[in-house]
Assembly symmetry: none
Homo-oligomer: 213 residues x 4
Amino acid sequence: MNKKREVESSVKDESLIAKRRSQMIRGAVTLFKQKGFHRTTTREIAKAAGFSIGTLYEYIRTKEDVLYLVCDSIYDEVHTRLAALDTENASIEVLKTALQHYYGLIDDMQDEFVVMYQESKSLPKDALQYVLNKEIEMVSLFERLLKECVESGELELTPKEITLASHHLFVQGQMWAFRRWALNDFTIEEFINMQTQFLLQGMAGEKISIQGA
Amino acid sequence: MNKKREVESSVKDESLIAKRRSQMIRGAVTLFKQKGFHRTTTREIAKAAGFSIGTLYEYIRTKEDVLYLVCDSIYDEVHTRLAALDTENASIEVLKTALQHYYGLIDDMQDEFVVMYQESKSLPKDALQYVLNKEIEMVSLFERLLKECVESGELELTPKEITLASHHLFVQGQMWAFRRWALNDFTIEEFINMQTQFLLQGMAGEKISIQGA
Amino acid sequence: MNKKREVESSVKDESLIAKRRSQMIRGAVTLFKQKGFHRTTTREIAKAAGFSIGTLYEYIRTKEDVLYLVCDSIYDEVHTRLAALDTENASIEVLKTALQHYYGLIDDMQDEFVVMYQESKSLPKDALQYVLNKEIEMVSLFERLLKECVESGELELTPKEITLASHHLFVQGQMWAFRRWALNDFTIEEFINMQTQFLLQGMAGEKISIQGA
Amino acid sequence: MNKKREVESSVKDESLIAKRRSQMIRGAVTLFKQKGFHRTTTREIAKAAGFSIGTLYEYIRTKEDVLYLVCDSIYDEVHTRLAALDTENASIEVLKTALQHYYGLIDDMQDEFVVMYQESKSLPKDALQYVLNKEIEMVSLFERLLKECVESGELELTPKEITLASHHLFVQGQMWAFRRWALNDFTIEEFINMQTQFLLQGMAGEKISIQGA
DNA sequence: CATGAATGAGATTTCATTCAT
DNA sequence: TATGAATGAAATCTCATTCAT
């Protein structure tokens, strides 16, 4: 399993920690989105969170901790929202539902996802590893769903095609977050529908020879 | 057109400028890849380029100029390599060739592309705009090719599908650069083939109802 | 006399003050020995003392107060232990007893003495003065004993020799606390004996011409 | 041997490094003497040295480096001045000359010695070790001189007495630096004479029983 | 043209102290 | 009395940029 990395706090009261960190994360996401992690100062984060620089450091140890908390909270949300889903005995129907939830999630937390993908490289090594593992977990979920569809005969894919397709599904999520400026005409429902359509067709259709016409 | 943003230099000799900047870009890409733009110091860039910090500043005005030069040089290369292609009267065949060249290019300049996509947000506004326009040009190229395939009857796509598909083509290029760690098993040829296959199938196949089985 | 400098406390109960301060001093000495006064935080002192930072500040006003209390408590102990001694009508025998008690004291409170000598410069001016006066009192005690030995004819020393010798006696005490690492082979008794021997001989012997052999 | 610990500098010119560091040491000693190492800020050091904070950090890496440079420069001076001495085939005469040079040195560099002994505990571990080794070298020098005097029959001392006496010689040096306030009446020559007198007598005289009168 | 020493604004982080509970 | 969360002044250190040589 991917063990959660603890961020030390000198404050004891757990519920207060949760509250302050949530203020902190909210402020940080906004700032990181605007100016990026490196151009944002810890003082700005504190201010945006609504408390003093000294208080900020009662709840974290380094600036990188803030970034980690942002990433971690995203995956907590992902976990909460996808856990609600029953993905046992996958079918294309289940896959579609999963995508709907996943893309919906990204739509709701667009800023957070953009920040995470843009800035995660600035995390300390162990935190980066933790976040990457979370990403792998996501991709693996899609992989499992696809594999089960193949096993049930609903899809016909080679193992390599499964791998590639699961990355597609994942990357299309990022695309919705990152390329919104180019996708203004699309509603999220439209996007989900078209992407699912493309994808299933790409996978399910009769193979077209890519050599001949 | 997207007017090239000039970077000022106090040196007059154009060929010397070209030479020094190319040393500079080479060094900078390596460093930016390793540690990111913000964690790389101008001293390090100068050293990696093989000259002193004083000399570095004879050829640029700010650190951000270095990043801009990196991005700009990538699009110069893109331009050079895709200009060789005859994309008039597009067909699926032409589209496939274009993809082959584009993905091949990304494969050759993986580090450069990663750096560009990761760090371009640190560019000053005008430089960022310039780079984004270059990106739009790329997407537009795919869009035009797809549109011509539709016009010639080789593909059947709505305008919105064309838009989305062209972004797909573009994003899959980024995917090859960014997710290489997950795609170790794939050769670039295999990747190109499978992606093209998926894509064309997704677009060309009989529409599958995504509601029913 | 050297008027005791009061440390303010918001707590009224004198016996509670005494108890808390003694906990505080015990913890502080250990910490100051390990890391020095400046590298020790008030939080650490509170923790080592067994109560909260808030409580610490109920019994002192500033961090320097803690250092002062440490120094003061040392001289309280010195006072208590040397007061037991009858040093009226001094003789060499009395001097020897005094040294035995003084060096024995230093042996018992090594950490405290080291801390005091190393850190007392960080005391606020008035507190430093108070501590220096205590030191002068100590030296004066030795001076008086020596003077009385001279008066009684047991020793033959000029006034300047008395001054110097009394500082010697004092400094040798510090030496036992500070250079323990180099004096591992010596027991405290051995040390006392040899030092007394050296000293009395140095003072009592026939003068050797330091010019000729 | 005690390998010199290098302090890194980003400046290349060795003679400039020497010059700037000497300015730095001069300023630092004054400040450390007045306020101690911890109460002195790096900005103050830079100012006292006559340059900016940025420049200071071109010649050191951490504040502790300044302290190390101070200590190191003292021992360089000690080395230079004592190396002039011929201490082969020691005699009491040679010992006396050595003391004269050593105490004279301390007299000349009183501030430096006080700072070194008061603040060296703040050095990083390896630097502290280096400085302690230098101290041991000094004590060993005295030890050797005493041993040779014993071998030549000029002094009669047990090995333990030699150890203790060499520490005495060393500590009396510190005493001259630290207790100057109490030794105002003494000239350095007087001090040297009296100390040598005391010492040699303490060592050379007929042993007095310290039990009886 | 090339060099590299000098600069100082600005960033992160610590910690003594306060005060509401 | 006891607690510990909040505060912000102040300290160390970095690094883009300049400019005299």
